[in-house]
Amino acid sequence: MALLTRRKALLSLTGGGLLLAGCSKITGGDQLNDSAGFQRVLAAAEGWTLSTQRFLLGGGAMAQEFKVSDISKNFKANGTLNPGGDEYDRHVDEGFVNWRLTIDGLVAKPMSLSVAELRRLPSRTQITRHDCVEGWSAIGQWTGVPLALLLRAAAVLPQARYAVFHCADNLDGEPSKGGQQSPGQYYESLALVDCRHPQTMLAYDMNGKALDVAHGAPLRLRVERQLGYKQAKYVQRIELVSDFHRISGGKGGYWEDRGYEWYAGI
């Protein structure tokens, strides 16, 4: 009897192991994963997360800020490490004195600002944790212009719902051509409530020094309550829109067009 039950135990261990394993192949998970209908079902969760977090966070809950001693000695740079191309290289050589940030689209007062002009505006400094969608985190200090200030100056029109951030880097390895949006061109978008959050800024300094090329020189977005891919680097243009479905892949960002959630609060 004992022998029999022990054999049963061994058999069930193997069976249990098989059941736990082989998820996709045995259970057909991969076929499900390829089905557009099933993906639409899964996508519902993003809406649940967004509305729950909007409810919990309201407009104002602040991301945790840290001490100078918490700053990562080496802050991993990810995505594009250098946009390259003749145009960007020239900006690097010139120390970005001719870099312009354009704010246009659904605004009453479109504007174009140099980095020096941005540096003269009121600034904010914050030490925050950068959470990559891959799972790692690094802590850095950011100084920049609160985005809310720029949007107020540009007088956002009532029909605007999102700000789209157009960047100088092309993750497909090709430099941008003539300002035209090629499919690999990095871009991001935010709802206005996140744009107006006090910690959301266009940063020009990192850890007390001008942003380096790998981390997004001369301007990058910081939107502290969302994941790393929302923190667009090399920002050239902020376009206010009522919807982003006609821009690039239509999902509101480079990584969003590649299947990642538009709302990256989780």
């Binding site: 998820c23 809950a61 945790q64 990559c132 790692w136 309550r225």
Partner: protein, 281 residues
């Protein structure tokens, strides 16, 4: 008198199957929803883990920090790829399983092998969609279960161990080691190790949800204190991983016990609710 004498004589107990209604509908329903959710969450969690197969302690951790656990691939001298598991100071060769495993017949750099992950191929975006959808279902299911079973005192009566239960722990351990299962009426009552295991599972699932939320930068802004409780975002990620390991171990033991106690009867009781009492020895 003969008739009276016969009546007074002890008769052998009739061999009769005693079937009882053991598991209520809510327990059965939430059990199977839970089973599907945990299955998908473990598989998709391992796929997500593969995007950065290192664990750190504290708030931060990236390629410049030292992980206490890592599943990595190494390039060997003969240009083939090897798998290595690093646990603190230990460097273990885990080629074929962790760090490097066969994918389409070829040894490929990959933290967890593709036969363990959902979806099979490395796909962080899709794995996140699976993970968060089923996490929501798990939470809704778990809340329904907790409210209902606290309300009808299922947890207090059947799962929370009594003092007498706790005193019987050594005896229960012995019984389990001997693969001795209770029979008759005694089989209806959860023994103390069962109670502790189910309580532990409840605790682990709560731990999974809270550590999972602590990794969310949005939720972190809502409850930074919770992230602190776990020692930071990266420690929350590590604890999330260890709780998952504990849950997988629970499931393995759970399945072994189901088979040992009579898989047909046990599984039927979790589907129809009806359970045949094991015969007295």
């Amino acid at each position: 008198m003969a008739v009276e004498a016969e009546d007074a004589m002890p008769m052998p107990a009739p061999v009769r199957r005693v079937v009882v209604y053991r598991h209520t509908f809510i327990v059965r329903l939430t059990h199977w929803i839970n089973a599907v959710c945990i299955f998908v969450l473990v598989g998709s969690g391992l796929n997500i883990f593969n995007a950065h197969p290192q664990l750190y302690w504290g708030q931060k951790g990236d390629e410049f920090d030292t992980p206490f656990l890592a599943l990595q691939s190494i390039d060997k001298a003969d240009a083939s790829v090897g798998g290595q598991t690093i646990v603190g100071p230990l460097h273990l060769n885990t080629t074929g399983f962790l760090g490097a495993s066969k994918q389409g017949g070829e040894l490929t750099a990959r933290a967890w092998p593709d036969w363990l992950t959902i979806p099979g191929p490395t796909d962080l975006a899709d794995a996140r969609h699976w993970h968060f959808f089923f996490a929501w279902i798990l939470v809704a299911n778990g809340v329904a279960y907790l409210v209902w079973s606290l309300g009808i005192r299922h947890i207090q009566r059947d799962i929370w161990p009594t003092l007498a239960d706790l005193k019987a722990i050594p005896r229960s351990i012995l019984d389990h080691l001997r693969l001795k299962h209770p029979s008759g009426e005694a089989a209806l009552r959860y023994n103390v190790l069962q109670r502790l295991a189910y309580l532990g599972l409840l605790l682990m699932v709560c731990g999974m949800v809270l550590t999972g939320l602590s990794m969310s930068p949005g939720f972190g802004a809502f409850a930074p204190w919770l992230v602190q409780v776990f020692g930071g975002r990266q420690s929350a990620r590590a604890i999330h991983f260890f709780c998952a390991g504990a849950i997988v171990m629970f499931i393995v033991v759970h399945l072994v016990e189901v088979v040992l106690a009579g898989p047909f009867n046990e599984i039927r009781s979790m589907i129809t609710g009806r359970y045949t009492l094991p015969k007295e020895h």
